[in-house]
């Protein structure tokens, strides 16, 4: 079970977040949900740090290796000479390798988005359709340790939501 409240605009949300912090709730436990990204508020900057860039490069590397292996292996496996070119023809192979590198990077990015963004996850999570329908901003805490404090921080209009 979790506690949350809905706010009409960023300012209210910001105040709630500050209050929660004051009540000793760590950022990692505070959930803020909005219908649009909130870069213009301080809370919008919470847990921004990400390793997605490294993952993407890693994916690219895998794609590169696979491309290199594929072209070389197949050409050696069925070594038919054509047009006086070497069996392993690097110039053309580079094109295939390039494409596979990019493909690797793209897939890696999307996969990390799915994982890191906690998409596709099964467990019912803290959410309220009003976020989109009423364009509200949700601030809440999942499984708060000190409910009283949280309730106080969120001010009036606190709701009890799903989640664990």
């Amino acid at each position: 079970m979790s506690l949350y409240a809905l706010y009409r605009d960023g300012h209210g949300a910001q105040r709630a977040v500050d209050a929660l912090r004051a009540a000793g709730v760590p950022d990692s436990e505070i959930t803020v949900i909005s219908a649009v990204p909130m870069e213009h508020f301080e809370f919008g900057e919470m847990n921004k740090a990400t390793r997605i860039w490294y993952v993407a490069s890693g994916g690219g590397l895998i794609g590169f290796t696979f491309g290199t292996w594929l072209t070389r292996m197949t050409e050696l496996a069925w070594p038919l000479p054509t047009g006086n070119m070497p069996i392993v023809a690097w110039w053309p192979n580079l094109i295939v390798i390039f494409e596979l590198t990019m493909l690797g990077a793209i897939f890696a990015t999307v996969i990390t988005l799915m994982v890191a963004g906690q998409l596709l996850r099964r467990r019912p999570a803290l959410y309220d359709p009003e976020v989109t329908t009423g364009e509200k901003i949700l601030v809440g805490v999942e499984a708060p340790r000190d409910e009283k404090a949280v309730e106080r921080a969120l001010g009036d209009g606190v709701k009890r939501g799903g989640g664990e």
């Binding site: 069925w78 038919l80 000479p81 054509t82 047009g83 006086n84 070119m85 023809a89 053309p92």
Partner: protein, 210 residues
């Protein structure tokens, strides 16, 4: 040219298709008019697949249907061909032909078909093979007789039929062979040589013209 049709099961496409520019002649005798009447002259030039060493048709084929054999021929593997027709575009000599329809031989014309040469189905590319079936036949005979293939053992259908003996076929790798000798001749030249396709066919200029 008819010899080629007879040897290689090349279909006749009929007037309607011929008018569309789909007649198939693996070997064609190009003729060019030079000058005007009365000082007019004709130039004849037989053109068939030049079996290039650096054949532009080969690398462009996505399925290796067109590739180079150990003997240095441009093999065209009909059943690997998916009909991109890219090879025909890449060929500067326009000597590759496409089967636009399944070939038909009104019975009993089909009885003439040469069993040593496969009949090409619709959608594949075909071209002069230097009568590869004759080459392999000769090789087998040679093997059976426990001897090396010697110059003159193999004659392509065209070379064999040509009444004026204007076509000579043989093994260029054998410096003693007649073709090797002729290809070294100062009269010799290659077709579209400057494209760098390294064609294996050598054209001998008229005595005196060279």
């Amino acid at each position: 040219m008819t010899a080629c049709h007879a040897e290689n099961n090349i279909p006749t496409v009929g007037p309607a298709q011929a008018a569309r520019g789909r007649a198939m002649h693996w070997l064609r005798v190009e003729r060019y008019w030079e000058g005007e009447f009365p000082d007019v002259r004709l130039k004849f030039r037989p053109v068939m697949c030049q079996q290039c060493d650096a054949a532009p048709c080969e690398p462009v084929c996505p399925t290796y249907a067109s590739h180079h054999t150990a003997e240095g021929l441009n093999a065209q593997v009909y059943n690997r061909c998916i009909g991109t027709r890219y090879c025909a575009n890449a060929c500067p000599y326009n000597v590759r032909f496409f089967d636009f329809f399944n070939p038909a031989w009104p019975k009993p014309l089909d009885m003439q078909l040469n069993p040593d040469v496969s009949v090409r189905e619709v959608g594949v590319m075909e071209k002069c093979t230097f009568c590869v079936q004759r080459i392999s036949a000769a090789q087998i005979d040679a093997k059976a007789e426990k001897r090396e293939l010697k110059d003159g053992d193999v004659k392509t259908a065209c070379a064999q039929a040509c009444p004026a003996k204007a076509l000579v076929f043989g093994d260029l790798n054998d410096p003693e062979s007649e073709v090797a000798r002729l290809s070294r001749s100062p009269r010799g030249s290659k077709l579209l040589e400057d494209l760098g396709t390294l064609p294996k066919v050598t054209y001998l200029a008229r005595q005196g013209d060279a």
